[in-house]
């Protein structure tokens, strides 16, 4: 079902108002961060005056994620947030200096909003979770734990260093990589069979497959072991994989919710996925805090038509982070607004074809 013009217009007005508020925050010397204040001083125009709508953000050149590498990380700290406890989350980093994002509350807010989308039947409040994903300096690690705590549960986790996995893959040491995966799955199975009454989990497509296989080898299954809700993420979430996971790895009684996200954006939810829609996965950003657009491969300022393929362009608009248009390493098809999310979505997300040859997908 598509959204009515009224709700779409309302969402657009909210987004524009949010843009004004966030631009005012980040470019006001009393509240903004050193990076953006310095940046604005070289622009030759005043963002606080010139940016009144979301479209006005296009006046900024594309954000370059390389700006996030290295220190001092406090250049990203808005003055208005000084004194708050801070976290630094890193992306990638299998070689060289990783990109980092400074944050205080955003990951909690994003995951509390996501929590509202989880069906109670399959993700019961008070139930314990397993975080079967990356450990270390990852936003995901703390965010999933917070999600679980927010819902009244206790989160168990495993040791998993994705940077090591990527190094193994790049070195062609696939057997070592599989042994490391077995080590991770072994930790997960140990937790799941230790009487902790775990009902929900986060995982990635590859780890979900590996866990299901190992449980099958032991004469049990994800469902039989007590899991009812699986929250998962990754660009490998193709319709075919989702169908395979739902039909053969999980079966009746286990709910799967694919998501799309990263350290910079937060979390985009999908519309419920299933056979009625041929397992098509359409993601919607948590607007107005983040916006996903699908833009032309040749001109990142132009949206493609609905149903057409383009590159994913991300905008992050929170008091902690301002990213006015960043080209993701993914592509997909532009999707129309729907009733639950009266703004544009993206489906068929996959690694951007021009970059995919040089991108190593590890365990997530």
């Amino acid at each position: 079902m598509t959204s009515s013009p009224g709700t779409a217009q309302q969402a657009k007005s909210q987004l524009d108002a949010h843009v004004r508020e966030i631009v005012e925050w980040h470019f006001n010397p009393a509240t903004g961060c050193p990076f953006w204040l310095d940046y604005a001083s070289k622009l030759g125009w005043d963002p606080r005056k010139s940016v009144q709508t979301f479209e006005d953000l296009k006046r900024f050149p594309l954000f370059e994620d390389d700006w996030l590498r290295g220190g001092p990380v406090r250049r990203w700290l808005p003055k208005g947030l000084e004194g708050k406890p801070l976290f630094v989350f890193e992306t990638g980093g299998s070689t060289g200096v990783p990109k980092s994002r400074l944050t205080s509350e955003d990951f909690r807010i994003d995951y509390e909003m996501f929590s509202d989308t989880l069906p109670e039947k399959y993700f019961p409040r008070g139930s314990n979770w397993l975080m079967l994903g990356p450990s270390g300096p990852r936003r995901l690690r703390l965010a999933v734990e917070h999600l679980c705590q927010h819902r009244g549960g206790i989160c168990f986790s495993v040791d998993l260093d994705p940077r090591w996995v990527i190094k193994l893959i790049k070195a062609g040491l696939t057997e070592e990589m599989h042994r490391y995966k077995e080590h991770v799955i072994d930790q997960a199975v140990t937790i799941l069979t230790a009487g902790h009454n775990i009902q929900c989990m986060f995982t990635t497509p590859k780890l979900l497959e590996a866990l299901a296989e190992e449980l099958d080898n032991r004469g049990t299954s994800i469902r039989k072991i007590g899991i009812t809700g699986v929250f998962a993420g990754g660009t490998e979430f193709t319709p075919q994989f989702t169908r395979f996971a739902m039909e053969e790895l999980l079966g009746e009684g286990v709910y799967l919710t694919p998501t799309y996200g990263n350290t910079l954006m937060g979390l985009a939810c999908s519309k419920p996925v299933g056979p009625r829609s041929d397992y098509k996965i359409t993601y919607y950003a948590p607007q107005p805090r983040a916006v996903i657009e699908v833009v032309s491969f040749d001109d990142a300022s132009k949206l493609v038509d609905y149903g057409k393929t383009g590159r994913v362009r991300l905008t992050t608009l929170t008091r902690e982070t301002f990213i006015p248009g960043f080209l993701e390493r993914d592509e997909g098809e532009r999707e129309a607004p729907c009733e639950e999310y009266p703004w544009d979505g993206v489906s068929g997300v996959r690694p951007f074809r021009k970059l995919s040859a040089s991108t190593t997908i590890g365990v997530y």
Binding site: G172, E213, P239, Q240, F241, A245, L249, D278
Partner: protein, 472 residues
């Protein structure tokens, strides 16, 4: 257009991901092929043992008869194919349209496959060196000479990661089913035709559906086949060969670097052998690993290269349906140009002469594909960069090299036709461990004897002879 499903041990499964196989000249879709995800394959491997179990319930003699019937069906029958059906003519047209091989060569390949299936009893007898075949079923038995022998299957199914560009390779896996080992096939993206048609023929001939699985997909699916099958046959270039070197689970079929060596005792009569040389380079569009890519001699090499260039250089690219078409198209856009560029940049080395240059451009580019016309290069020494190269078209270098240095310089050689009566050199050739198939005398490299093993004996690859005793 046909829709070809994944075959999960015989059960059709239509994937939500499909790959279109298109006509290389027109772009017209020929088939939509369901693409497997790796998890699907690995999950289905739980049923691999069932494939062997079901096959061992059928006597090998019966399976051999099924192969003969399947051969006839494959050659002449109209068979169920995905959501449609396929006649032999459809098959040849479709295979030609996606691989670029001329149609009459596709038909010739069908005859080769048919021959192998129809002579399966003799082939197995030769490959097992006369072993009573029930020993493969039972695991042990007594040979005619009264000795107890035991052969243990090393895998329930053989994995195959098949190529797109060389429909001739399928003969290699045809003896697997009658040895009661299942087939786990990952077809080449442009050549799904043979695996599916062969599976259809096998099924119709009575082979249990549960014995054959087909998982089309990307490189990740190929890697999963290699990882999951305890014995696997794969096809690829030199990097693939290097990657799996020493891995006893994997038999890699890569470039052949096949050669003809002319001994000093016969080289003055080189004109007698020019047809053998030309056929070895050129027949079946020069695509096979058994096609000759190097002619080595100590003298007259320029004259030999000139004669080959005059014979092969004028040959033109023709449409695939033309009965006179003799070279295959490169159907991947840009592939022909990339190959030619890699040759061209090495033509400027001193001592290297492009002998086919006077016969016109070698690279012929059409809208959606490219051709490379036969190419003969002369190298005045084995040290020239082009002297030991292979490309998948009629391409050969004629290399000047003293006879006493040849065996040290030729490198790994799949087929070596050594034309010589020099007994001492013949002895050295027999001992040369970098030569796989050795032809002594005036034999083209492309002449196969089906009763001989190819790049390792498949029986030894799939079965391990071992000690076995039983208490009376």
């Amino acid at each position: 257009m046909l829709n070809l499903p994944i075959l999960r041990w015989g059960q059709p499964y239509t994937s939500l991901e499909q790959d279109e196989v298109v006509h290389f000249l027109t772009g017209k879709p020929l088939a939509r092929v369901s693409q497997a995800n790796t998890g699907l394959l690995s999950r289905d491997m739980r049923h691999a043992e069932r494939a062997r179990r079901m096959l061992t319930e059928i006597p090998i003699g019966d399976l051999i008869n099924m192969m003969k019937k399947a051969g006839d069906l494959y050659l002449s029958g109209t068979l169920a194919m995905g959501d449609g059906e396929q006649s032999p003519d459809d098959f040849a047209r479709q295979q030609s349209a996606s691989t670029g091989l001329p149609e009459h060569m596709c038909k010739a390949n069908m005859s080769k496959n048919h021959f192998v299936l129809n002579n399966m009893d003799q082939i197995l007898d030769a490959l097992t060196r006369g072993l009573p075949l029930n020993i493969l079923t039972q695991g042990y038995g007594i040979e005619e000479r009264g000795v107890v022998v035991s052969y243990q299957a090393q895998c329930p199914v053989l994995g195959l990661v098949l190529p797109s560009n060389s429909p001739g390779v399928h003969t290699l896996w045809l003896p697997v089913i009658p040895m009661q080992i299942g087939l786990l096939l990952k077809p080449g993206p442009q050549e799904p035709w043979t695996p599916y048609r062969m599976a259809a023929a096998f099924y119709e001939a009575g082979v249990p559906r549960e014995a054959i699985a087909i998982y089309p997909g990307g490189a990740d699916v190929g890697a999963e086949v290699v990882r999951r099958a305890n014995r696997c046959m794969i096809f690829g270039g030199t990097p693939t060969v290097e990657r799996y070197k020493g891995d006893s689970r994997v038999q890699v079929h890569g470039p052949g670097f096949s050669k003809i060596l002319l001994g000093d005792d016969v080289v003055d009569q080189w004109e007698k052998y020019i047809d053998i040389m030309a056929d070895s380079i050129f027949l079946n569009s020069g695509r096979g690993c058994i096609n000759c890519s190097g002619i080595w001699a100590s003298r007259h090499t320029k004259k030999i290269a000139q004669a080959l260039a005059e014979k092969l250089g004028p040959i033109e690219a023709k449409p695939p349906e033309d009965p006179q078409a003799s070279i295959a198209a490169f159907t991947v856009p840009g592939a022909a140009r990339a190959i030619w560029n890699s040759i061209d940049m090495r033509l400027h080395e001193p001592g290297v002469t492009h002998m086919t240059a006077p016969f016109g451009h070698r690279l012929v580019e059409l809208e959606r594909c490219g051709y490379l016309r036969p190419t003969i290069i002369h190298c005045d020494s084995p040290d020239r960069a082009l002297s030991n190269t292979e490309y998948m078209y009629p391409f050969a270098t004629v290399v000047e090299c003293p006879q006493e240095q040849m065996l040290g310089k030729i490198g790994p050689t799949l087929v070596c036709s050594a034309i010589t009566e020099d007994q001492q050199w013949r002895r050295q050739l027999m001992e040369a461990r970098h030569i796989d198939r050795l032809n002594l005398g005036a034999l083209p490299t492309i002449r196969l004897n089906w009763l001989q093993p190819h790049e390792g004996n498949i029986v030894e690859f799939l079965f391990r002879p071992r000690a076995f005793q039983t208490a009376v």
